[in-house]
């Protein structure tokens, strides 16, 4: 059975509806005390983690070296690190591991963005914005 998730509206322009999920992150023995908001973005080929979230679960940016230039988004180019290890993502009773990209921008407005290389690899997503919700059907062959 797919999981039905309602879109969310946020301040300033509530008519814009955002496909957002809540998830837990786990890396080695560290996890965050609460779930975090994550935007589901089919236009993103990489999944992104906020630099302060990455730091909180154990990634020291100084040890990651200098961020690499080369990423492009609708907002322009950015510098980023690709994390050397996978992070476990827990959501709605399912788990998958993701190699996140951490963008060198503390002003990023999303704690996490799930792109084509994460949730879209592990689940079928059916966006029904005209109905106000989307559905996530996790793959049964791997879950």
């Amino acid at each position: 059975m797919p999981i039905k998730i309602w879109y969310e509206s946020l301040p300033k322009l509530p008519q814009i509806l955002w496909p957002i999920v809540e998830l837990n992150l786990h890396f080695k023995d560290v996890s965050l005390p609460q779930r975090i908001h994550a935007l589901v973005d089919s236009g993103a080929n990489r999944s992104v983690l906020h630099p302060l979230i990455a730091e909180a679960i154990g990634f020291d940016r100084r040890k990651l070296g200098k961020p690499k230039t080369g990423g492009f988004s609708a907002s322009g180019s950015y510098k980023a690190w690709i994390l050397p290890e996978l992070i476990d993502v827990y959501m709605y009773g399912y788990t998958f591991s993701v190699r996140f990209t951490v963008i060198d921008n503390k002003q990023l407005i999303w704690p996490c963005i799930l792109g084509e290389d994460s949730i879209f690899e592990f689940a079928r997503l059916d966006f029904q914005k005209y109905k106000g919700y989307f559905e996530i059907g996790f793959r049964r062959d791997i879950n």
Binding site: W6, Y7, E8, S9, L10, P11, K12, L13, P14, I16, L17, W18, E22, L32, P33, Q34, R35, I36, H37, L39, D41, G43, A44, H50, L52, I53, A56, S73, A74, S75, L108, I109, W110, P111, I113, G132, Y133
Partner: protein, 62 residues
């Protein structure tokens, strides 16, 4: 159930916030992520979720 409207809950809020599971209440708020984690720890890490209350989400183009 229907579209989740966070505009009222987040009204006047900026920075890192923790929201109750029913999306209706701000549990804690801080300017920094580390500050929010410290506040939540003092509260016994109640159930909820963390997000960023941006001044304007409409400028984001994914």
């Amino acid at each position: 159930m229907g579209v989740v409207n966070l505009t009222k809950t987040l009204k006047g809020k900026t920075g890192w916030v923790s929201i109750s599971p029913d999306h209706k209440r701000v549990i804690a708020q801080a300017r920094t992520f580390r500050g929010l984690l410290e506040k939540l720890k003092k509260m016994g890490n109640p159930n909820g979720f963390i997000m960023i209350a941006a001044r304007d989400f409409s400028n984001y183009i994914g």
